[in-house]
């Protein structure tokens, strides 16, 4: 029996898009699988990775203007203590607060001498057993306190 109207609704209105969609989908899947994306990573930059008398050769170009030494120790593998003058912190946020106050005080003193707070050089002095992640936490705290020159000394 002949079906009436089966072809009545189908009329040509343009080119056949099916091959285009096939190719485009293949390209899309390839790009999604092959591409490398930035991911959730970033960088903590140190323009003075070495400090005179610390890590590196003695003729290092780093200045030693107005140094602050942060001594980092690790009483247990999962903890660290950071001391700089009167500051004694066991976590990043506390250390950041202390360093921010210290920087403000030093900035006032340096201003009176005609110097800038950017002359302050932070020397992070970790113990041999301090984990890299704790060193980075201290480095980040110094960064957060707006210090511009942050370096390391040899392991104690």
């Amino acid at each position: 029996m002949k079906m009436k109207g089966a072809k009545a609704v189908h009329y040509e209105s343009g080119p056949n898009m099916t091959p285009l969609v096939d190719v485009v989908m293949v390209i899309l899947i390839f790009l999604m699988l092959a591409g490398q994306f930035g991911g959730a990573e970033h960088f903590l930059a140190s323009n003075i990775p070495l400090s005179k008398g610390g890590v590196g050769p003695d003729n290092s170009p780093a200045s030693i203007d107005e140094p602050i030494e942060i001594r980092v120790d690790s009483p247990s593998p999962d903890r660290f203590t950071a001391r700089a003058g009167v500051i004694n912190a066991t976590d990043g946020p506390t250390l950041t607060k202390g360093l921010t106050r210290l920087r403000a005080v030093m900035a006032e003193q340096l201003k009176a001498k005609g110097k800038s707070a950017s002359d302050i050089q932070v020397k992070i002095s970790p113990g041999r057993n301090v984990k890299f992640e704790h060193v980075i936490a201290v480095f980040e705290a110094a960064n957060a306190a707006s210090f511009e020159k942050i370096g390391f000394t040899k392991a104690r």
Binding site: M17, L20, V21, E140
Partner: protein
């Protein structure tokens, strides 16, 4: 005035135009954002420390990734790998760079090559690369004693910018008051 009727969809054929529009936008997005066939030499297996602060490096073409892991869990001897040019083939490949703890180690020589050119000498015949940067991708469990020789090598090679690769973390929400 006659009424305008939206024509019936072509029977049995869905309208693929919106699909193609969306897919084309996605393709353009992926082509712009994705880095295909580009390897920085970063070892994805290394568990890097995390930080809230951090910045991006604009000129990634002038950067050498140093993958630093300790030889064993409590070892102070690091293993450093990086994607450096093979002197015989000329191709870049992941290579272990030996560290002897002095200014003549393989790592220092490689860093000097990128920093000062073929002559490895500051201000020599080859042009110096003042914008050369090092990215240290270190194991978060590694002890500082293992990292120290790498920093020393950077110092010997007069590398001016050292960046520490960290994982982004968002700031933790403050704890609720009791």
């Amino acid at each position: 005035m006659g009424k305008h009727h939206i024509p019936e969809a072509h029977g049995g054929h869905p309208n693929v135009t919106p699909l193609i529009d969306v897919v084309m936008v996605l393709i353009v997005f992926f082509m712009l954002v994705a880095k295909i066939g580009v390897s920085t030499g970063a070892d994805p297996k290394i568990q890097i420390p995390s930080s809230i602060l951090g910045s991006e490096i604009k000129d990634m073409g002038n950067v050498l990734y140093l993958n630093v892991t300790p030889m064993s869990k409590d070892s102070d001897t690091p293993i450093v790998t990086a994607m450096v040019k093979n002197s015989t083939t000329g191709n870049s490949e992941i290579t272990e760079l030996k560290l002897d703890g002095d200014a003549k180690s393989q790592l220092v020589a490689s860093l000097k090559f990128y920093r000062f050119g073929k002559d490895l000498v500051k201000g020599g015949d080859a042009a110096d690369n003042d914008n050369f940067q090092v990215v240290i991708r270190g194991d978060k469990e590694m002890r500082f004693a293992a990292l120290q020789p790498v920093l020393e090598a950077c110092a010997y090679a007069n590398v001016k910018a050292v960046n520490f690769n960290t994982a982004k973390v968002t700031e933790a929400a403050p704890a609720a008051a009791p």
